[in-house]
């Protein structure tokens, strides 16, 4: 039923969106994610969906706001500089409790930065994807297959908790080709608003008018809205964390890494194991909520933790917070679009005493 196809990560994301019932896609070209738009511009008209190239990232995210507000599954994608432009809209989407999926195929920054793979938007996506008190769901796949699988999950949880979900990929994952399997027998069915009684669909003279809004001029009312939202976030934290542990059972050094860097970390750990070093990899799949319990479990025998990222060290903050500074945490990373090599990570493992 499911045959393996060789696909680019970006294409897998796009195809998976259609299979998740994403009816509308609103995009704007930017390297290295443009294949998503190109793929959907071909596919969407054939499955009764909508592809629209907007005049800017700002317009695209606001089209998502309107479409999601009418209860229809929709998505936008971009890369780092474009995501910055979308943050206004994302804040409004969060403030109006709307579900949608946003893809960030990260590239080097700040500013125009570069077009090579990077992971320097971790702080942005987990801390401040727009103004105000809110969170978004953040998924960090590390293979093309996982890119595809995560899309369905992202749409489902976005709907369940009425909040935006972000898939945080990077140029490496977006551009690499790997075999990916889709369920060929599954029916492609575009979403409708039938299970979203809050949506602005036209009231058909059968109910009061629905209002999609994030404005509350009474401070107490706004506070109550935010508190309610944060109660929902507590449920997300309790139920939706995802992580992969690789050889952490006996690991004295745990390497924490996400996305494509986790693949490099695994290679480094394999090299370390060959040298008799007990190392393992902790790979968070959800970056918000952060898999705090899973990390602590993975580090039960750890003497030290090494965080590796394609940035100057951003997730390292969350690792320290999650471990409550119980275990020393060190960092090794490359930035600006440079991909670290397994040997660099191995050297750091050795430097941390893993060779003793």
């Amino acid at each position: 039923m499911s045959e393996l196809t060789l696909m680019k990560g970006n294409e897998a994301l796009a195809e998976a969106a259609i299979r998740a019932g994403c009816k509308c896609f609103f995009g704007y070209p930017i390297t290295p994610q443009t294949e998503i738009s190109a793929y959907l511009s071909k596919r969407m008209p054939k499955v009764g969906g909508v592809f629209l190239q907007a005049e800017s990232e700002v317009a695209a995210i606001n089209m998502v706001y309107g479409c999601a507000g009418s209860g229809i599954r929709c998505m936008t994608s971009s890369s780092s500089p474009g995501i910055s432009l979308k943050t206004e809209g994302i804040s409004y989407i969060a403030g109006a409790d709307l579900p949608c999926v946003i893809i960030n195929v990260q590239r080097g920054g700040p500013g125009l930065g570069g077009i090579q793979p990077s992971q320097a938007d971790y702080w942005q996506v987990t801390r401040a994807l727009g103004h105000g008190d809110f969170h978004v769901l953040v998924f960090a796949p590390s293979t093309v297959q996982e890119m595809a699988d995560t899309v369905q999950k992202a749409f489902d949880l976005a709907d369940k908790y009425r909040m935006p979900a972000v898939i945080l990929a990077d140029g490496l994952l977006g551009q690499m080709m790997e075999p990916v399997a889709f369920d060929e027998d599954a029916e492609i069915k575009m979403s409708d608003a039938s299970n979203k009684p809050w949506a602005a669909t036209g009231h058909k003279n059968q109910r009061k008018h629905n209002i999609i809004n994030s404005l509350y001029l009474q401070a107490e009312e706004l506070e109550e809205k935010i508190r309610n939202r944060f109660e929902r976030y507590e449920q997300v934290k309790a139920n939706e964390t995802m992580a992969e542990c690789y050889k952490t059972e006996d690991a004295e050094i745990v390497v924490a890494a996400y996305g494509s860097t986790a693949r490099l970390a695994k290679s480094a750990v394999e090299l370390a194991r060959k040298e008799g070093i007990k190392a393992g990899v902790f790979r968070p799949i959800t970056l918000w909520p952060y898999p705090v319990n899973e990390l602590n479990e993975a580090c039960k025998n750890a003497k030290k933790v090494l965080v590796t990222e394609m940035s100057m060290g951003q997730m390292v903050d969350d690792v320290k917070l999650a471990l409550n500074c119980r275990i020393p945490v060190e960092f090794v990373g490359r930035t600006g679009g440079v991909i670290p090599s397994p040997a660099e990570i191995l050297n750091k493992i050795k430097e941390m005493g893993g060779d003793k």
Partner: protein, 246 residues
């Protein structure tokens, strides 16, 4: 003799606008058109940031509140997902012709089947009367205390004239609401806009020259006079483009 009462599509609540502000008249006209076409249950409105930010509490149809200037993009998202619904935006001059210029121009040139109600009162009302993109040369505002100087602030944007150059536009008409005759004419224009939308014939914009007595520092009746004397000569009323684009 016919009765005159509040249209159903206008919620039975007090409006928060200042005395004599013509927003209320335009709200009622849009609601009357919705009533007359019998489309309240199939209409989705988008309101802006500005004085009419809370228009979602006033229209009885489903409503979305957009961020500043983005209403045409929000409306596009709704309309593309729901091509058989009626979608309108209600925007002021700062929203539509300054921060939202790109969204306005591109929704128009795509020929989005939406209807834009554009309130031009030559000032940013809600924030206290600063210069708008439509502030007339010489006009005193909070941020042009010596009058708008074309050598410093440049010239106003004539929205209908500009949009009438775009192929996606089915209707670009400038109207006003300063007396019963102009009000009846404004309503006809709004109706035309919704009819173009009904027939999926392109983008429609109805620019309504409006007053802001509070920030103009005038009584409501003086404000109407200023609109006649200063605005209409600069922003002539009339149809700038009309005809199905598809």
């Amino acid at each position: 003799m016919p009765e005159f009462k509040r249209p159903h599509a206008l919620c039975d609540v007090p409006l928060h606008y200042c005395p004599g502000c013509t927003h209320g008249i335009v709200h009622r006209l849009v609601a009357e058109v919705i009533d007359e076409m019998g489309i309240e249950g199939d209409t989705i409105g988008v309101c802006p940031v500005g004085c009419s930010v809370m228009a979602y509490d006033y229209f009885n149809c489903d409503m979305l509140e957009a961020s500043h200037g983005r209403s045409p993009a929000v409306a596009t998202g709704i309309k593309r997902a729901n091509p058989d619904k009626f979608v309108f935006t209600y925007q002021g001059d700062g929203d539509l012709a300054a921060i939202g210029t790109a969204e306005t121009v591109h929704a128009a040139t795509r020929g989005e089947n939406i209807t834009v109600i554009f309130i031009n009162n030559t000032t940013y009302g809600m924030t206290g009367g600063q210069m708008a993109p439509t502030t007339i040369p010489g006009q005193i505002t909070q941020t042009t205390p010596y009058g708008r100087n074309i050598n410093v602030e440049g010239f106003p944007v004539k929205v209908c004239e500009m949009l009438s150059q775009l192929d996606g536009v089915a209707l670009a008409e400038r109207v006003t609401v300063i007396d019963p005759k102009s009000i009846m004419n404004a309503k006809k224009a709004i109706r035309k806009g919704f009819e173009f939308q009904k027939n999926k014939q392109g983008f429609s914009i109805i620019e309504v020259l409006s007053t802001c007595p509070t920030n103009w520092g005038k009584t409501p009746i003086e404000a109407i006079q200023r609109l006649k004397d200063e605005m209409i000569p600069y922003y002539p009323l009339g149809v700038f483009k009309e005809g199905a684009v598809r």
